[in-house]
Homo-oligomer: 423 residues x 4
Amino acid sequence: MHPTPTDGTRAGLADEFRRVRALTEHLCEPLAIEDYGLQVVPEASPPKWHLAHVSWFYETFLLMPSLDGYRPFDPRFAHLFNSYYEQTGSGFWPRAERGLLSRPRVEEVYDYRRHVDTAMLRLIECCDAERWPRVELRLRIGLNHEQQHQELLLTDIKRNLAHNPLRPAYRADLAAPAPGAPEPLNWVSFDGGLVEIGAGAEGFAYDNERPRHRVFLEPFALADRLVSNAEFLAFVEDGGYHDPAHWLSDGWARVRAEGWEAPLYWERVDGRWQTLTLGGMRPLDPAEPVCHLSYYEADAYASWAGKSLPTEAQWEHAAAGVALAGNFLDSGLLHPRPARGSGIRQLFGDLWEWTASAYLAYPGYRAPGGAIGEYNGKFMCNQMVLRGGSCVSSRDHLRLSYRNFFYPHERWQFKGFRLAEVE
Amino acid sequence: MHPTPTDGTRAGLADEFRRVRALTEHLCEPLAIEDYGLQVVPEASPPKWHLAHVSWFYETFLLMPSLDGYRPFDPRFAHLFNSYYEQTGSGFWPRAERGLLSRPRVEEVYDYRRHVDTAMLRLIECCDAERWPRVELRLRIGLNHEQQHQELLLTDIKRNLAHNPLRPAYRADLAAPAPGAPEPLNWVSFDGGLVEIGAGAEGFAYDNERPRHRVFLEPFALADRLVSNAEFLAFVEDGGYHDPAHWLSDGWARVRAEGWEAPLYWERVDGRWQTLTLGGMRPLDPAEPVCHLSYYEADAYASWAGKSLPTEAQWEHAAAGVALAGNFLDSGLLHPRPARGSGIRQLFGDLWEWTASAYLAYPGYRAPGGAIGEYNGKFMCNQMVLRGGSCVSSRDHLRLSYRNFFYPHERWQFKGFRLAEVE
Amino acid sequence: MHPTPTDGTRAGLADEFRRVRALTEHLCEPLAIEDYGLQVVPEASPPKWHLAHVSWFYETFLLMPSLDGYRPFDPRFAHLFNSYYEQTGSGFWPRAERGLLSRPRVEEVYDYRRHVDTAMLRLIECCDAERWPRVELRLRIGLNHEQQHQELLLTDIKRNLAHNPLRPAYRADLAAPAPGAPEPLNWVSFDGGLVEIGAGAEGFAYDNERPRHRVFLEPFALADRLVSNAEFLAFVEDGGYHDPAHWLSDGWARVRAEGWEAPLYWERVDGRWQTLTLGGMRPLDPAEPVCHLSYYEADAYASWAGKSLPTEAQWEHAAAGVALAGNFLDSGLLHPRPARGSGIRQLFGDLWEWTASAYLAYPGYRAPGGAIGEYNGKFMCNQMVLRGGSCVSSRDHLRLSYRNFFYPHERWQFKGFRLAEVE
Amino acid sequence: MHPTPTDGTRAGLADEFRRVRALTEHLCEPLAIEDYGLQVVPEASPPKWHLAHVSWFYETFLLMPSLDGYRPFDPRFAHLFNSYYEQTGSGFWPRAERGLLSRPRVEEVYDYRRHVDTAMLRLIECCDAERWPRVELRLRIGLNHEQQHQELLLTDIKRNLAHNPLRPAYRADLAAPAPGAPEPLNWVSFDGGLVEIGAGAEGFAYDNERPRHRVFLEPFALADRLVSNAEFLAFVEDGGYHDPAHWLSDGWARVRAEGWEAPLYWERVDGRWQTLTLGGMRPLDPAEPVCHLSYYEADAYASWAGKSLPTEAQWEHAAAGVALAGNFLDSGLLHPRPARGSGIRQLFGDLWEWTASAYLAYPGYRAPGGAIGEYNGKFMCNQMVLRGGSCVSSRDHLRLSYRNFFYPHERWQFKGFRLAEVE
C-alpha cells in the first residue's frame, strides 16, 4: 500500500491513495464509537484524531495550495487537526487535549474523509503538468504520513485500552501462539571499515535519510536475533530494576519516578507474568522478543549483559544485504513472533530496534523550507534512532535507510532491541 | 419526581423510583454517543459515569445488603463507579480519570441500569417488614442522590461541551429570551433576633440540615433579587478583575493564576459580551442574574458595592415564609431568568446563592455510621454554603433547610448571589 | 510587649517600642549567620526576612506618610520585604523565594533596623498633635505586628532547622523536663444561652475581633485541659492515620499525599517516639499536650473519640472569666508543659487551640480602607480560628477576644486542641 | 595547577594538591557568609556544598579505602555531600535541596577541608608502593574533579547572585573593557577524510575521551571565531525569539514555557541591552562572543544564518594543530573577550562551544566498575557535547580531546558557539 510499488502513473497513484485510505479505516473497524475519542496519555492520540489529522495533511499541503476552488470541509478543523506545524498559521489544539473533544462526531470525521478523498482523486486526475511534480512528491509524503499514522493508530489504541481495568481487547479474535523456548543466540561479525549509509538521490525517502554519506566503522558483531522475553526476564529476576549500577542516570530517575518493575504491559498475575497484546492478556512467551521498552531499559540490559546496542550505521551496514522481509502489519498477527531459523534475522519487522545513535542530521542535511519542512528536522534533539520496522508497520512503508525516532523514555511503540559489541 | 409527594405506599415509592430513573435518561437524550465519556476537568464527570454511579449507589446500599440472592451486574463496576466512599471496600477509580474509560460502552451502562431497575422494583415490592424502614430511608436517600446527579449531569455537560472550540449546544432547540433591562433593586429589612433554622425531626432531610437549632441574628436587610448581569458588568468595567483591593487573598491568587477576566462562560466577541448556555452562545442579557461565578467573585463584588453576602441563617430566616416556587428544572428553560414582579424573589430556583457561611456542622450534628455516613459530614471543611436551588434543580428535591456546598473557587454550577447588609 | 501595660504617654510608647524591638533581636541571638537566610518551605520565612519585614512595616505605614523628610534606608527594600500588601504599590518578592536572597547581608539588615529605630523614636517624640492619633494607632498595630512575627520567628526557625538531618538545636541549653503521666481529663459544663463575644469598642484590638456581638449557644461542655501526647498516641496506635473513617475528605487526601503517620516533629527512633523541640530531640512526654498538628488531625481525633472541637464562641465564653495567665514566651520554656492542677486550664498559653469555627467576619465587620486594611480581612476564607496563644506568644500580645487563623492543613505553629461536646 | 605539569613525583603531586585546594578557597574569598548557602535553582549548587563535596570525593575514593585508620570528619557528611554516586551506599541529599542546609556552618566546612587536606598529604607521603598506582590515578581524578567544581563554583555564584534584584557583584573590582565592534568573520576550510579523535592510551584523560578512534569527515569549514553579541543581536532584532521557523521543537517549547527573549543575563534597561557579569551589570559589548545560551538558541541562530554547528569530530580535527592557549581562569578576567588577530581562534578558552554532537560513548568505550565508574558514563543520554573550555576553566585542566556535556536547555555555564558548514 505504498508509493514505491505503483507503476508511477497517475492511475497507479490514485489506486495507491485509495488503498492507503481504506486500510486506515479497516484498522478502525473493531472499535466501538466510544473508543474513537479516547486519549489516556498525551502521546497516545485518539483514533478519531488520527483519522482527521491525516486528512488535514492532504487538505493543507495539497488541496488548499493546488486544487483550484477547493473549499475546506470545515475551516475550524485546521486548528483542531493540525498536529504541530507552526508555520501553517492555524495554530493547533494542544496535543494533551485531543481526547477532550466529543465533536466532531465519528460520523462527521468519516464525512470529512470522504470530502478529502473526492477532492484528492480529482486533483490526481486533473492537476496540470506544471504543478504535478510538486503534487506528486507531496502526495507520496502524504501517503507515507498516513502509513505512519496507521502504525500509531494501533499503538495508541493498545495504550489507551490498556488503561482500562476491564482489560478490553482490540481484537479478541487474534490467534495466540503457544509459548515456547527461545532459540540460542549467536553472533555475526562484520569487518566494518569505510561504509556508506543513507538514502541515495533516487526514489522516495524522507529528508532525514539523506544525504547518503560515508561512515567509518570499527569491526563489530551483532546478535543474530532480538533479545527474548526469557533473557530479559533473567535481568528482571536479577533485580535489574532495583540496582542503579547498570542504568543511565536519566533512566534510573525515570525508573524510580514511575515505579517501573518490568517492560510496559507486563503484569504479574498470581505469580505468573502475563502481557497485554492487541488480542488481550496472554501468558508471557519466553521465546518472543521482549517488547515495549524504553531506550533506558534496553541500554541497562545491554550493560548488565556486558554488551552494547548497535549504532544506526552498524545496523544499516549489517542489514544492507538482507531482504526486507519479516513480520509486518501485513501478517495480521499484530504482535512480534519468536525468531526462527538461522543467520541474522528479525532485522525487519517484529519490533523497532533501539540503536545507540541519537537522532541527528546527516552531514550536509538541510530541512525543506516552509511548514512541510517541519516534518523531520525540528525533532533532531533529545531522541534516539530506531531501525527496522515492526509488526504494525506496513512492509512497503519501510526502507533500509528508514530512521524512526522516539524519546528515550517512551515505551508504548512496538520496540525491542538487539545486542552488539565492538571487537 | 421525588419522595415527598408520594402517598407513602410502596406502590407510590415504586412510581417515584421509575419517574426519577426515567428523568435521568431523558436528560441524556440530546447527547451523542461521543459525549457520554467526556470529562474535560476533574470536577465535571462524564454522563456515562453519572448514569452508572447512581445505579451503583442503589446496588451498594440497597441491593447488596437487602435483596437476597442479588447478583451484581459486574462486580468490577464497584471500583469503577464508586465516587468517594472509602468504607465500601472497593476503592474507587480516580475522579480525574473518569473520562479515560471507553468501556463499558454506553449501551452496557444502560443495560446495567435495567438490571438495577428490575432488582430495585423487586426489592420495593418484596422486602419484608422488618427490613423495610431501613430500605425505605435508603431508597429516599438514593432517589435524592440521583436527583443531585441530574443537576450535575447538566452542569457537567455544559462544562464539558464548553471546552470545545466548535461550541456545540446541548440543546439547540431551547428558546432564547429577548435581552432586557433589570428591574430596580430594593432592600427588604428583617429584625433578626433569636431564630430557628435547620430541618425538624420529621420528614426527609439530609443529616447536615439537622438538628434544628437557635441562632441569634442582628437586624439585617437583603436585596430583593439576585445581582444582575448589568450590575456585575459595571464591576468588570470598573476594572474589578484587575484591582486587588476588593478581593480575598485566595481569590486574588486564583484570579491571577487562572487569568479570570469575567464570570465563567462570558466571552467577548467583537467587542460584545456573549455567554454560553445549554442552548448555545447568546448575547449577554443585562436583566438576567449573573451566573457561574465563584465565591471569590461574589465576595469581591459585594465588597466593591459596599455590601456583604447573607449568612445561611439570614437567608433561611428570610426565606422561611416564602413559597418554594420559581424557575427549576421543571420549567425546561435550563437557564436563569430575569427577576420579575416585586417583593423578595428568586430565593428558590434560578441560581444557587453563595452565602457568607462556611459549610460546618450544626451544633450537635453527628454523621451516621458506616459508608453511607460519608455522604455529607466528611466535606465539612473548606467549602461554602449555597442556598435555594437553581434552574437545573428539581423543585421537589429542595427544602427550605437544604444546604448545598462547594469550594469557593468553583464556578461551573449554576451559582449567583444576592447582597445583604447588617444594619 | 505591648501597648496595654504602657502608661499611654509618648515616653511609655517609646519604651514599649524599644522593648519590642530588642526582644526580636534577642530571639535571634542563638542563630548562626548561616541560619538567617534559611527557608525550607514557603510558609517558614527566613529570620532575616522577619527582621527586615517588621521594620518595613513601620517605614511604610508610619515613617513614609508621617515623618517629614524621612528617607528610606534603601527604596528597593519595599519590594523585598513587603509581605503581601497589594495596595502599597511596590509589589512584593515571591513568598516562596524569600530564602533565595543572600543580600542584603545580616549586618545590613541590622543597620536597617537601626535606621528605622532612630526615625521611629523621632516620630514618637516629634509628631504633631493632629497626626498623633493615627500615628499612635498605627504604632500599636506595628508593635503587635512585630510581636506576631516574634512568634513566627521561633516557629519558622524550628521548621527550617528540622529539615536538616544533622538535627541542630536552636538552643541546646534549654532544660528538658522529665517525662510523666498526664493528669485525668475532666469535663466542665456551660449553660450557654445568648452570650456576647468579641472586643468592645475601647482599647486596642484587631479589626477582626470586632464588633462585639451576641451569639446563641446550646449547653455544652469542654475538657478541662488540652489533649495529651498519651491520648493522641492511642489514636496513632489504633491505626488512626490508616483508617479514613474519622477523617475529613480533604484531610484524608492530605494524609495520603504527604504520608502523615503522626504529628509533625514526631519521629520513631529505634521503636521509641521522640519529638523535635527548640532544644533538640527529646523523648515524647506522655503528659505534655500534643503539639504541631493540623486541624484535620485534631478533627479526626475528636471524631475517633466521639467528641468535637469547641467553636470559637464556646471557647471565648468559657474563657471569659479565666485569668489570662499561663506558659507564654515569657516563661522561656519555648515548649508546652503538662497540665497541672485542677479546673479548666491551659486556655491561655502552651498551645493555640484549633476551634471548629471557620475564620469569617463578625456581623457588621468592615475592613479598614487602604493597604493597612489588608491586615486581616482579606484572609477570611479557607482558614480556621485558633484561640488562646502559645508558649511562644508574648503574654501581653494576647486578649480574650484574640483570633488567630491558619489553613487547616498547616502544622508548623505551636497548635494543639481541646475536646468539646454539645449536650 | 594541575597534574600534567607536575614532575610526577609524590612531592610534585603533593604540591599540586595544595595548589588546587588553595585555588578553590581563593575563589571563595569575595563571598559573604550569607552567599555560601545560596541555591536559587536546582542546578546551581551553593558554594558551601562545592567546598565540602570535593573533599568528600577524596574522603570516599581515597582516604576511606586507602589510608589505614582514617576516621571521617563526620560520617553524616557522606549523605550530605555525595552528589549522585548511587553505589557508595550512603545515598545522597536531594540536589534541589542543597541550599536548605544552614549547617554545617561555613567555618565547619573549612575545618572539614583541613581534616581532609592533612589526611591526603599523609596518604600521598606514606602510601605503600603496591597501592600507589591506584591512589595516584584516583588522586589525579580527584584533582581534576575539584578543578571542574572550581568552574561550577563561579558559574553557580553568578547564577545565584543574578536572581537577586539588588544585582550584587561577585567582584566589583573586575575591570570592564570598553565596548567595541567585532572583527569580520572568516571561514577556514578543512578537507576532512578519515581522521582520528579521542585521547590516546598515555597520559591522564577521562574515560569518556577514549578510545582514540577513526572518524570519516566530509570536507567542511569552520568560522574563524565565535559568534559575537552584535551578530546574535541581529537575530534577536529580527524576531528570532518569536518565530518558530528556525527552532528545534523542544527548543521552541522551552522558549515559550520560560518566556525567553534573549540569552540568559541579557537585560534591556531603558532601551539598551546590558548583561550581567561576575563584575556586575555592564553594557552589552558588540564585539564580545555571545554567551550563556542554550543549544537550542545556538542551533536556531545557525539555522537562521543558513549554517550549522560543528560536530565534535570536526572541532577536534580543526583544533588538533592549534596551541592550547586563550582566555582561561588564569587570566583573571572571568569573562569572555572579543576575538582579536587572525586565523582560527577562540577554540580554547573564552567560552565552551556547543557542538552538534550528542554526548555518547566512543566505539568500544567501557565505564570503569564501581562507584567511581559513575563519573561520566551514566550521563551518556540527552546531553550535547561542548568543547574547548571557557574563561572560568583552568588552562591545565583542559585537553584537545576534552568532552564537556550539558542538557540542551541549560544556559548558566559560560557557553557560546561557532558556525560550521559542510561544503
